[in-house]
């Protein structure tokens, strides 16, 4: 027990987690909203069109942050799942389980916007480009994780089994990425990856980074909301939950 810092230990009590998650979620949500507004202004209005791709390059300001998020969420999810499995912290497991749908959503967003960007750039919605292919495989990994989670009825067993799967995924993702990149350079040497710009102008970098930050805050806000539901469902027979809902109308 001494390995776990005291504040974390206190936080891991479901009741405290529930209250804490609500507050942090609201704050992160507001910050995300403000950042999205600023990012949209810079991305859509106050940045020059790309000298080659014109205004279609503005899709980058959601495509690239979404692609970053899809990887980031998987790593956070695996980390939280591992913490939940090793130290039996239920709040961490709830956090990991709540991350999967959000991560899948960002992956789907990266795929869809990538396709919409691909049409004007390549003349077709789908090209077996390394990044799109990797995103597709990542989506499969997320869906597999969610399928396993919903197939196991017992909550604790499900949390630990999905943790193993997430860790196996973490070991495999770099290998899959490397393989896909290698395969891509072999078969489509002519297609220049659209992200491989040697240098990106500062006026385009600003909205990109703002949107990336906004998505991170959105993710934390959203995932804490979802984790709250998990905690509530798990603890529905406890007295603190019953006190909480006392005043509620049927």
């Amino acid at each position: 027990m001494s390995i776990i810092p005291n504040w974390l230990h206190r936080l891991s009590s479901p009741r405290n987690f529930y209250r804490f998650a609500g507050t942090v979620s609201d704050w992160c949500g507001w910050i995300a909203l403000v950042l999205i507004a600023i990012g949209l202004y810079y991305g859509l209005v106050n940045s020059p069109p790309d000298y080659q791709q014109g205004d279609s390059a503005r899709i980058m300001y959601i495509h690239v942050p979404a692609a970053w998020m899809s990887m980031f969420v998987y790593m956070v999810m695996a980390g939280a799942a591992a913490v939940g499995m090793i130290w039996r912290i239920k709040a961490a497991s709830a956090f990991a389980n709540a991350s999967a749908p959000v991560g899948a959503m960002f992956t789907a967003m990266a795929l869809a916007t990538g396709m919409l960007w691909g049409k004007p750039m390549w003349g077709t919605y789908w090209v077996w480009d390394a990044r799109l292919t990797s995103e597709l495989i990542l989506l499969f990994l997320y869906l597999g994780y969610m399928a396993l989670q919903s197939a196991i009825e017992d909550r604790d067993t499900a949390a630990r089994a999905t943790a193993i799967l997430a860790l196996v995924g973490v070991v495999n993702i770099p290998i899959i990425h490397y393989s896909v990149e290698w395969w891509n350079t072999l078969h489509q040497g002519a297609t220049v990856s659209k992200m491989d710009k040697p240098s990106i102008h500062i006026s385009m970098l600003i909205p990109l980074l703002i949107m990336a930050l906004a998505f991170k805050f959105y993710y934390f806000s959203n995932v804490l909301r979802r984790a709250r539901c998990e905690v509530l469902e798990r603890e529905k027979d406890k007295s603190w939950v019953q006190e909480l809902v006392r005043g509620e109308q049927p």
């Binding site: 399928a147 193993i164 896909v180």
Partner: protein, 227 residues
């Protein structure tokens, strides 16, 4: 625990699994039959033009091998789970990863090895030349053990679940992609007279990695699934 003791446990479990497989040999042959049928469907669905077949053969044979592996993997722990011997295995004093490895080796001997022996025949059906056949067998020799190793993790996670077979393929097939990419590419390149030691080295290192990690993950997954 003495080393000899561990070895005995490993060998006796391996022998037991092989014996069981031999008794149910008709059932063991089904994935192989599936492998042959799937491969022979492609010329019918496409065009039996020799050049086309030659071009798609490495990919087709490898995809069929992946699917056949999925089918046979489903049985890896199922019957042991049903008759309770899997639980017995968990409470033996021997380290579980080692026992799991014995089961994986047995699975590969029963499903991977026959695939390896059958593949040249299918390669000929798809117009692969002799320069492709040896690389095909080399990739299968390095790749199919990886399928058994990684697959065992998925089987351990889904053992005892209803509809586990479909779920298993959802979990495991994406993880097989690196094997597919490098193996199919090596076979294709060998036909073009290119050097394929890089691809084979990659497959070999995948095998080493899977060999080191998969039994541990499978053992952990089994303990979770069975409590």
């Amino acid at each position: 625990m003495s080393g000899a003791n561990l070895g005995t446990a490993f060998v006796s479990l391996l022998r037991r699994d092989l014996m069981l497989a031999y008794r149910h040999r008709a059932q063991m042959l089904n994935p192989l039959l599936f492998f042959v049928i799937v491969v022979s469907l492609f010329p019918l669905g496409l065009d039996p033009e020799p050049e086309l077949l030659h071009a798609i053969a490495p990919g087709v044979i490898w995809v069929a091998a992946l699917l056949a592996a999925m089918l046979s993997l489903d049985n890896m722990f199922r019957s042991d789970f049903d008759d309770g011997s899997l639980e017995q295995l968990l409470i033996t004093p021997h380290p579980l990863p080692l026992l799991v490895l014995a089961k994986i080796v047995a699975h590969w001997l029963v499903s991977g090895l026959p695939l390896l022996l059958l593949a040249p025949l299918l390669g000929m059906l798809l117009n692969l030349g002799s320069e492709n056949l040896l690389p095909l067998m080399a990739t299968l020799a390095l790749g199919t053990p990886v399928l058994s190793l990684i697959g065992s993790i998925g089987v351990a996670l889904t053992v005892g679940l209803r509809g586990g077979g479909v779920l298993l393929s959802l979990l495991i097939l994406p993880l097989f992609i690196p094997v597919l990419i490098f193996a199919a590419n090596a076979v294709g390149n060998a036909g073009a007279g290119m050097d394929i030691t890089g691809q084979l080295a990659f497959l070999g290192s995948l095998l080493a990695l899977a060999f080191a990690l998969a039994p541990l993950a499978t053992a952990a997954a089994l303990r979770i699934s069975l409590n």
